[in-house]
């Protein structure tokens, strides 16, 4: 029983190793990009649009409204990053329905990469919105003594994001594997349903937390002006 799919190596040449996590991630990316390209080939403005375009519109508009509700002005600027975050994690957790599939988010490398991309994106969006000086000065609010604590909280938020997603998905897969050796009939199906639910909730949580962090960073300008 392995802790994550990083241990299963499919192909190796020198020190370059292709493990199941990398292959699954690329397959998911291919599915998402090719699917989106196929659906948005001929976008139509009529009232009766194709079913796939209608589905994609529902998804995009819902995500944009959620981002706006958290408190970000101009949600279109952040829609690409946050929407991709949510859709990738949701798709990778949803595909656990297929037998023999190991979710790449059940490996600490994938979740650490996603958390690091949020860690880099938050200052980028903050600086793009407020300018470098005001953004850096926001770290010294409310007093200058809080500077190390603000930095530590940034780092621990990133770590918590990675470990939360990894722990939830890995625990679901591991509990399922253990149950299959004990009571292989009905109970694993119930646990799979629970795993699907937590997968979707964790995807939503990851995206909402990233949104909240970006909203806190882009609000530096309003807070500095009063």
């Amino acid at each position: 029983m392995h802790l994550s799919s990083d241990a299963l190596i499919l192909w190796q040449h020198g020190f370059v190793k292709l493990n199941v996590t990398i292959v699954t991630t690329w397959v998911l990316m291919l599915v998402m990009v090719v699917g989106a390209k196929l659906v948005t080939r001929n976008l139509e403005h009529r009232v009766d649009i194709s079913r796939w375009q209608s589905l994609l519109e529902v998804v995009v508009v819902t995500i944009r409204n959620q981002i706006g509700e958290v408190g970000l002005q101009h949600p279109e600027k952040y829609l690409g990053f946050l929407g991709t975050l949510f859709l990738f994690i949701a798709l990778s957790n949803f595909c656990t329905i297929f037998p023999g599939y190991e979710p790449p988010t059940g490996s600490l490398s994938t979740t650490a990469a996603l958390a690091l991309s949020v860690f880099v994106a938050v200052p980028l969006f903050g600086i793009a919105e407020s300018g470098l000086g005001i953004f850096l000065r926001s770290y010294t609010k409310p007093t200058f003594i809080m500077l190390p604590f603000n930095i530590i909280s940034e780092l621990s938020r990133t770590l918590a994001l990675a470990i939360r997603l990894f722990g939830n998905i890995m625990s679901g897969a591991m509990i399922l594997a253990i149950l299959l050796t004990i009571t292989p009939f009905i109970f694993p199906i119930v646990m799979t349903m629970l795993g699907l639910l937590t997968g979707m909730v964790q995807a939503y949580i990851f995206a909402i937390l990233a949104t909240v962090y970006i909203a806190a960073a882009t609000r530096a300008r309003e807070e500095a002006s009063d």
Partner: protein, 92 residues
């Protein structure tokens, strides 16, 4: 008692205690969070979407403490570096 037995015993006991004790406080905290959310939903049903969304975000943050304990427990059982080290020494 040689080091293999000691490491195995400490790992197993610690793994069990970690998840047992570490699951108590998040469960209590989540219970309080849900009960407060239910009473505020009863007081203001119009804000139900906001309350529900905030409840889920809060529950996920509380749950992550239990997840940390679970991850430590799993590492002690399945990816224990001390155990691997001591087994590698015996294999030599």
């Amino acid at each position: 008692m040689d080091s293999i037995t000691l490491i195995a015993m400490a790992s197993i006991i610690t793994a069990g205690l970690t998840i047992a004790i570490g699951g108590i406080a998040p469960a209590l905290g989540e219970g309080r969070a849900v009960s407060t959310a239910l009473s505020s939903l009863a007081q203001q049903p119009d804000a139900s979407t906001t309350i529900t969304r905030t409840l889920f975000v809060g529950l996920a943050m509380i749950e992550s403490i239990a997840i940390y304990c679970f991850v430590v427990s799993m590492i002690l059982i399945f990816a224990n570096p001390f155990w691997d080290h001591v087994i590698a020494q015996v294999a030599k």
